[in-house]
Symmetry: C2
Subunit: 394 residues, 2 copies
């Protein structure tokens, strides 16, 4: 049977995380596994008001087919926000509304990647990007993340040897590591990519969620040869599946063709609802609430890890976003830890799936802190510490 | 610059129809060009009530990430409807919710097509399918549509010569031709495809919109080797972008992987709203209203064509759907007619884009009747008749 399918489907697999999530959805499990925003912070009433307004005032229009580019006032809002927040001058026509960053990545893969083209990706890297690009059969090249961003020396060396088509990065509160590129690393990365004429795909899904440290420029600030991705998933809600791509010229033309072929246009009613929500509410005030809630959860989790985790375990201390990355001592497997932890009803994601090559990141794991209440974080980290001591004593 | 893009983007182009639509959106133009449902029939108040209910009762859940497959009760509803309407036994797990048929076709292309694989398509065929499949660089093979469906003798001969991967069909009120396969043609088509072991993609976007004649079985009723596509675009509203794929076994597994990589899952809030709408309203009663309105428009359009069009012009008399297909005398170009008509503020779609090869269908065109009011249809067809007489006298 399998010979009837396209070659591109041979090396694809279901998301390991989504499979884990199925196991961990029982209510008794304390899950640090998913990458879910906290639903307690969704602006439900405000979205309901926006939906009611759009449907009563513009219902027939909002339910009809629309343009591939997306709702112009929404694109204008996004452009205006880039100008205000990052000093970026982006024309609304350089913005394409998508069904969230996952579709943005898929469209970019479709438009750029021939089989065997090199995609340079952070190690560890965002699993959704690895999945989406994999379908177009690229050769992945991993460059390690250091504490302040990608290893730029290695990036330069690798690209000097043989160039690539795309460099994919989540430079701010990265998924899975929580790492943020320093200002210097952003500038260096932009320069190296420009020198080797490789397109940067800068995925800023967590950009707005900074609860410590200071705001930094985007890589796009340093290089126009950057495709910038954004999303409403983490600042409004992910179930609406709404994000965007900023790209220019011929790249945008090709992306529009790919988007049109993929699904004509993104859900127009939802675009109208999100725009109405943004118009009638102060999104910055709402984001402040999210940042406050996530910052407190991070502080609690990191504090508990400092207090209870045995010696020799490393972890990142993210200044924003939703994830902490844990490195166990060499030789300790996070899969073994997972098996112990799940017996104690605690779940997380072992690190290996975040690498494109087998055998990498055996001793690493990702913890999500955004989607658990304080008591769950406390209880979960204590149990995890117990499991770690048990592993150490084996 | 263009060398940085993937080879697959070389032969793609923007939809000719969407480009035409931009020209014809001025209010003074009587447009038979688009494939738009009539927005006067959208159940706006009912969708608003459903949205309010979902958000007030299940808001936090409806706004969160969800499963790739789609909302189970919605899939159960669709399965139940197939059983009632077509006697098809489809398990809810054999249904994947997508962002409308366009995405369904894109996912099928992704999962099945290697470069050069043969896709057999009706001639004329659905433009959106040609666009979506084109990205995966297949070889298109066209088989002419006769009055009662595809030319099955030619289909059999072509597949005997060299088989193919997919056969794509809109067997009921086809876009663009309005043609419906007879019961016998459905059965023959299914048999031929089974004999040559080629997968049938049966796109039933207009299925529910029958205003004359009697219901017929789907091709899926005659062959399990059929992927069945459905959509809420024509029976509720297209702006919500919501459709589905029915597929089995390994095909569904691959489609799920492709969907996950494409955008994780379809807009969950919208899935919940549509389900709530279906639960709280009688969809059959609503569809009756649509059928009544479209049937009256078709009768008017066909009647006026009989009365006013010059001799020698052929047209289909569809029993449902949204389109009439017009064939001008040999040697008369519908592009010439388009240029005359647009000066009279009447628009339609010339037939050529519905063929995969250049130079085909020069004397054909598509008229949409669903999206015009009666007075517009009357005035538009009269003006078109005038243009035809003018062309004839040249």
């Amino acid at each position: 049977m399998s010979t009837i399918f396209a070659d591109r489907m041979e090396n694809t697999r279901k998301s390991f995380i989504r499979e884990i999530l199925k196991v961990t959805q029982q209510p008794e499990v304390i899950s640090f596994a998913g990458g879910l925003p906290n639903p307690g912070l969704f602006p439900v009433d405000e979205v309901a008001a926006a939906a009611a307004k759009v449907l009563s005032e513009e219902g027939r229009n909002a339910l009809q087919y629309s343009t591939t580019e997306g709702y112009l006032p929404l694109r204008e809002f996004i452009a205006q926000r880039y100008l205000l927040k990052s000093g970026l001058k982006i024309d609304p026509d350089e913005i394409l509304i998508t069904n969230g960053s996952q579709q943005s990545i898929d469209l970019i893969g479709k438009v750029f990647l021939n089989k065997g083209d090199r995609v340079v990706i952070e190690s560890p890297g965002y699993l959704g990007a690895i999945q989406a690009f994999s379908i177009f059969e690229p050769e992945f090249v991993e460059v390690p993340l250091l504490e302040d961003g990608i290893d730029t020396d290695q990036l330069d060396r690798i690209l000097a040897g043989s160039s690539g088509k795309l460099f994919y990065t989540v430079p701010t509160f990265q998924n899975p590591s929580g790492i943020t590129y320093s200002r210097q690393k952003r500038e260096e990365t932009a320069k190296i990519l420009q020198r080797h004429n490789i397109v940067c795909v800068e995925d800023n899904a967590y950009w707005e969620l900074r609860f410590a440290g200071e705001d930094l420029p985007t890589i796009r600030n340093f290089s126009d040869n950057t495709i910038l991705l954004g999303s409403f998933s983490k600042i409004i809600a992910p179930g609406i599946r709404m994000g965007w791509i900023c790209a220019q010229g011929e790249t945008m033309e090709k992306l529009l063709i790919a988007k049109q072929a993929a699904d004509l246009h993104s859900n127009y009613l939802s675009q109208r609802i999100i725009y109405q929500y943004l118009l009638d509410n102060d999104i910055d005030e709402h984001i402040l609430k999210i940042k406050d809630a996530y910052g407190k959860r991070r502080d609690l989790m990191i504090g508990l890890m400092e207090e209870h985790f045995p010696e020799g375990i490393g972890y990142t201390k993210p200044e924003g976003g939703m994830f902490v990355w844990v490195t166990l001592p060499e030789g300790i497997s996070s899969m073994d830890l997972f098996e112990l932890a799940i017996k104690e009803n605690v779940a997380f994601v072992p690190g290996s799936p975040f690498y494109t090559r087998d055998g990498m990141g055996i001793n690493t794991l990702r913890l999500n802190f955004s989607n658990s209440d304080f008591d769950k974080i406390e209880e979960g980290i204590k149990r995890l510490a117990g499991c770690l001591r048990e592993l150490n004593s084996d």
